[in-house]
């Protein structure tokens, strides 16, 4: 049997389960898998987190660097999110420069953080027009068991919560000394739903990710507002499906994530 044929069989199986309201791993449609967040594992990072969601594993690290501000925002720091989908995480990932999947992943996670205005970039100015902090968030996908968007967002937010600002004197960062924690305003979580046949479920497992026709990731902040969205996949959503996800299901599904993020100990 070709790989394509195997996936078609898997798809039929997953769909027939979903018709009965069941998922292969026993979850309900709007239920997340177990997840775990470890903070501060990497000592060279100003902040870090190691996240597992199902068997998906993400290492996130934050580095703070002093840079010249952009001319159109001389008083603001900046944030930059990058994601690496190296072959460590999956036999189907390739080494080399980031492909479009990794670029999309990084940019969607970035917008989920940026649009929710989580990092208080106004407070990251050292000398207006001269020196501001840039917050580099780097995500390393280590094991791909489905749903990288939500796992990477969790890891990025947790790493930011864990971040301290280095001491900066006479144009130099003092290695290992810090002046406080990174100023944050609230938080956001991302919840990804996928469509398989005409069923829609949150937090896709690896198999669900592989057989889905369409995907939608919705970022929600701590006030229950929408702050970023991204549809993916070559399938379509009906207007009703979209409304149901965006105005209802996402808020229910995100609850366990929001609870854990809210209670993370800040630095």
């Amino acid at each position: 049997m070709t790989e394509e044929a195997i996936w078609n069989l898997k798809k039929d199986n997953i769909e027939s389960l979903l018709s009965k309201g069941e998922r292969a791993d026993g979850r309900k449609p709007d239920e997340y898998r177990e997840f775990k967040i470890e903070l501060g594992k990497y000592h060279h990072a100003e902040g870090s987190a190691f996240v597992t969601l199902g068997k998906t594993k993400i290492a996130a690290g934050v580095k703070m660097s002093v840079e010249k501000p952009y001319p159109d925002s001389p008083d603001n720091g900046n944030i930059s999110v990058n994601a690496e989908m190296s072959p460590i995480a999956s036999p189907s990932f390739e080494s080399g420069p980031p492909r479009e999947e990794a670029v999309e992943l990084a940019r969607v996670v970035d917008r989920g953080i940026r649009e929710a205005k989580i990092v208080d970039v106004d407070k990251l100015c050292i000398t207006p027009g001269e020196e501001v902090w840039t917050v580099f968030v780097d995500l390393r996908v280590l094991d791909y068991d489905g749903n990288l968007f939500d796992a990477c967002t969790l890891a990025a937010i947790a790493a930011l919560v864990n971040t301290k600002i280095p001491k900066y004197e006479d144009g130099k960062i003092i290695d290992g000394e810090y002046t406080g924690s990174l100023p944050l305003n609230g938080f956001s979580t991302m919840s990804t739903f996928v469509k398989i046949g005409n069923h829609i479920v949150v937090d896709p497992s690896l198999d669900e990710d592989k057989v889905m026709s369409a995907r939608i990731s919705v970022s929600v902040n701590e006030k229950g507002q929408l702050c970023a969205m991204q549809k993916g996949g070559i399938g379509t959503f009906t207007a009703e499906e979209i409304d149901s996800i965006i105005t209802d299901r996402v808020f229910k599904a995100a609850k366990p994530l929001q609870k854990v993020i809210k209670d993370l100990p800040s630095k």
């Binding site: 479009e100 670029v103 940019r107 929408l226 702050c227 970023a228 969205m229 979209i242």
Partner: protein
């Protein structure tokens, strides 16, 4: 999305007029021309407000390298590129991360419409050049690409209509300009819709929005898509008529050439 806009700007005045005089649900002027290029299998040029996009389609044709081919369907390859002079600051020619991401979402949106299963082992290429940019380039690109695919004779379930809705100055509005995207509460929601079935094939959002605002914006999007759809169909109809005329001429020309040979 939220920009650095002056808080004192009134984005929608008491009479419901926006900065450029449009109503909240009104689109900028849109012009769609089909069959504008000679060498491509299909092409279209779209002006949408200040945005200008040209799209060329090739295919279905052979996949190179061959091992990338899919035995069940054609693969869609979309290349969205910005001309260096299309934006306020000179852009480097190499594609940036934004162009790579947009190429991907456009590719998925078009793939949803094209009957790719009819062309296994082959690829369909869409090349789009943005020549002028003013908020809404990806939906301008998509509208051009979809018309160019139709011009190339690629079978589709429906045309893909690109639209953008969002928010500025506290009001839900359609088709934001760059000035509106600079509002401090700006939200931009590029979407693409198959108008016949109202299916959504592209959806992105940047900025903070409530559920209620989403509902208004979503409704606005479907109305706007209908308008774009009609413009696309009109342009294709015109092209079809003129193409018939051209084909007759070409037949005569070919007959002549045979004589010469």
């Amino acid at each position: 999305m939220a920009g650095k806009g002056n808080e004192n700007v009134t984005y929608v005045d008491k009479s419901g007029k926006r900065l450029d005089g449009r109503k909240v649900d009104e689109l900028r002027p849109i012009k769609v021309d089909v069959g504008v290029l000679d060498r491509a299998d299909g092409s279209a040029y779209v002006e949408w407000g200040h945005n200008k996009a040209i799209a060329a389609v090739y295919g279905p044709r052979e996949v190179l390298p061959k091992h990338m081919a899919n035995p069940y369907k054609a693969i869609m390859r979309v290349y969205y590129r910005m001309a260096p002079f299309s934006v306020p600051e000179h852009k480097r020619p190499a594609p940036g991360r934004r162009e790579i991401e947009i190429s991907k979402v456009l590719s998925e949106a078009l793939d949803a419409a094209v009957l790719t299963e009819r062309f296994p082992q082959s690829q369909i290429e869409v090349h789009i050049d943005i020549l002028d940019a003013d908020a809404g380039t990806r939906i301008t690109a998509l509208t051009a690409a979809s018309a160019a695919l139709a011009d190339a004779g690629i079978p589709m379930r429906d045309l893909v209509a690109g639209v953008s809705v969002g928010k500025a100055g506290g009001r839900v509005i359609a088709d934001l300009t760059k000035a509106e995207e600079d509002a401090s509460d700006a939200v931009d929601i590029p979407m693409a819709i198959l108008p016949s079935t109202k299916e959504v094939v592209l959806l992105q959002m940047d900025g903070i929005l409530t559920k209620e605002e989403w509902k208004d914006a979503h409704e606005l999007a479907h109305k706007a898509a209908e308008k774009v759809y009609n413009l696309q169909k009109e342009a294709l109809r015109k092209r079809y008529e003129s193409a018939e005329a051209v084909e007759e001429t070409e037949e005569i020309a070919e007959t002549k050439e045979e004589v010469v040979e």
